[in-house]
């Protein structure tokens, strides 16, 4: 069972996916300098009404085994310790301990 931080992150990812198109449309209007300032301002106000979890920057890659938020090795989605353990057990294809 994933911990609460992972559950929150899953929720954020779901909300980002659900609201992405609408947010992009408002962003387009708000950032378009050829539109009247009132319209752009209204679009910006609409953008501010979205939940914080609809912003893609709130999504954080966490360890898919333990939910740890730091020291994630992106290619495998694992934190450094889980990565080491799995690599030593030979569960990660193409990864081997350096030796020279």
């Amino acid at each position: 069972m994933p911990n609460i931080r992972v559950l929150r992150d899953i929720k954020a990812r779901e909300l980002v996916r659900a609201n992405e198109v609408a947010r992009r449309a408002y962003l387009y209007v708000a950032r378009n300098q050829s539109l009247p300032p009132q319209v752009r301002h209204q679009a910006q106000l609409q953008l501010n009404t979205f939940s914080r979890y609809t912003r893609p920057t709130t999504v954080k890659n966490r360890c898919i085994e333990t939910g740890r938020g730091r020291g994630i090795i992106g290619e495998f989605g694992l934190c450094r310790f889980q990565f080491r353990q799995k690599a030593l057990r030979g569960e990660l294809n193409g990864v081997q301990k350096a030796s020279w």
């Binding site: 994933p2 899953i10 779901e14 378009n32 050829s34 898919i64």
Partner: protein, 104 residues
């Protein structure tokens, strides 16, 4: 050295040929927000699917699925109650509330 007017005309012609938008003042059009690919689907598939027993039990109550983790939790709560570590009693009225008395 070509005149600026001639250079602008050249740029305009180039835009017409290669079907790009002519924007000599570099005004922001917001087009990059429409052009960028959607990131949501890739973001959503980051965590692998996990088996959620309690959700299955909720959807199919006729199957009588027992979630061992949940059973263990109920057992732990019972054990704690026996040792006097259960949840605190609710205050009858606002005057009895611990939070009320602490604020003053």
């Amino acid at each position: 050295m070509a005149a600026p007017v001639r250079l602008a005309a050249l740029t305009q012609l180039r835009c017409a040929v290669f079907q790009t938008s002519y924007n000599p003042t570099s005004a922001r059009t917001g087009a990059k927000y429409l052009r960028a690919r959607l990131r949501g689907p890739a973001m959503n598939s980051y965590y692998p699917q996990t088996l959620d027993l309690s959700q299955i039990a909720r959807e199919f109550p006729e199957l009588d699925i027992v979630n061992p983790d949940e059973e263990q939790r109920f057992q732990d709560v019972e054990d704690k109650k026996k040792r006097g570590k259960g949840k605190p009693k609710k205050a009858r009225d606002a005057a009895q509330g611990r939070r009320q008395s602490r604020k003053k």
